[in-house]
């Protein structure tokens, strides 16, 4: 009996004081808990569309290209899609000169892309590998990681040139 009473009382007591404690903490947190994480919110990554500037990650001679047309999709290109771009910056003596219109395969995109199993993949930056109209890469090397989805897009050559496949 005594044990029963004790356990009951302890429960009631702890809830009583616990309730007080909760109220107190709520009171304090409302005073200075509102301004959090605003400065940490990131830019929303979106499609590769007209005027998107992409890094060129092969040795074709171009440094940066600007998308002028996505060949697929209404909103824009995503990871693995082909785009038409104009070369904005280029190395001297490269195969590709500044101002040329080129085709490119998006090998890295900051916007996430669904995978066949339902999970998603995203990369650090937007990067492109220049190809000709038939889809053969212009350069002979590919830098950085590329997704394995390129195999489904019939870009096996890029995959074999790449050092890392993610």
């Amino acid at each position: 009996m005594a044990v029963n009473f004790a356990s009951k009382c302890s429960r009631a007591g702890s809830s009583l004081l616990g309730g007080l404690g909760n109220n107190l903490s709520a009171l304090l947190s409302t005073q200075h808990g509102t301004t959090s994480y605003n400065y940490l919110s990131q830019q929303v990554r979106t499609f590769i569309q007209m005027r998107t500037v992409l890094k060129v990650v092969d040795n074709s001679g171009a440094k940066k290209v600007m998308c002028i047309q996505a060949l697929k999709g209404k909103k824009g290109a995503r990871l693995g899609d082909t785009i038409i771009a104009s070369v904005k910056e280029a190395y001297p003596n490269g195969k590709v000169k500044k101002g040329k219109v080129v085709y490119g395969v998006v090998v890295r995109a900051a916007m996430q892309r669904g995978r066949c199993d339902g999970s998603e993949v995203k990369f650090d930056d937007n990067a492109v590998v220049l190809v000709d109209k038939q889809g053969q890469p212009i350069g002979t090397r590919v830098f950085g990681p590329v997704p394995h989805e390129l195999r489904q897009k019939k870009h096996v050559k890029i995959l074999s040139l790449a050092g890392h496949i993610a």
Partner: protein
């Protein structure tokens, strides 16, 4: 299909779940859910976030070294399918999980040894220091209303148990000018009403907590 571990919380990622982020140096960060992904984007260190496995391992909360963990290994060569091996593996898995659960439990029990004694020690010290804040109803003639120097009022009600006469905090009331005991009882203010964040009230709350603790833990 491979079951990967979440980079942030170390839970298992089942196929079709989560997101993976590939850094430019080709390091892959896999996340089991958006919660972990967001925490990563906020540049939080999983070793400093309390709910992650990394934190719990680092702080000795979970069992880290055990032979049952040895079975879970990353193999890069696919096993040739064998019906008997698969069957035995499935049987062994159950057993291993059982053994692990038993060992985890004993680990937690071992971890908590001495905690109670430490708490009791602290509570006794606390009581000695702040017992002056609590008044016994016998010494306080008539009304049960107690007023703190800062103006907050609270009700006290006695509880008799095993020879002790102890005052239990009943309710904190906001400071009301000229409020009598009667009017407050009529209002029947809930005990979870409001805590005035004054030093006396907090100290009193602490000491009453201590009394509860000593009453029901010795």
């Amino acid at each position: 299909m491979r079951l990967e571990k979440c980079w942030f919380c170390s839970s298992t990622i089942y196929p079709g779940h989560g997101i993976q982020f590939v850094r430019n140096d080709a390091k892959i960060f896999r996340f089991c859910r958006s919660k972990c992904h967001k925490n990563f984007k906020m540049k939080r260190n999983p070793r400093k976030v309390k709910w992650t496995k990394a934190y719990r391992r680092l702080h000795g909360k979970d069992m880290t070294q055990d032979s049952t963990f040895e079975f879970e290994r990353k193999r890069n060569r696919p096993e040739r399918y064998d019906r008997n091996v698969t069957e035995n593996t499935l049987k062994a898995m159950k057993k291993i999980y059982k053994v692990r659960a038993v060992r985890e439990f004993s680990h937690i029990v071992k971890r908590r040894v001495g905690k109670k004694a430490k708490e009791l020690e602290q509570a006794k010290k606390e009581l000695q220091q702040d017992i002056s804040l609590v008044i016994a109803p016998s010494s306080h003639s008539g009304g049960n209303l107690r007023r703190l120097p800062s103006g907050e009022c609270f009700l006290v009600s006695p509880l008799k148990r095993s020879g002790f006469e102890i005052v239990i905090l009943h309710a904190f009331l906001p400071a009301v000018g000229n409020s009598s005991y009667e009017s407050n009882t009529v209002k029947r203010v809930s005990p979870f009403f409001w805590v005035p964040p004054s030093r006396e009230a907090l100290a009193l709350k602490r000491v009453l907590n201590t009394i509860y603790f000593l009453l029901f833990n010795t």
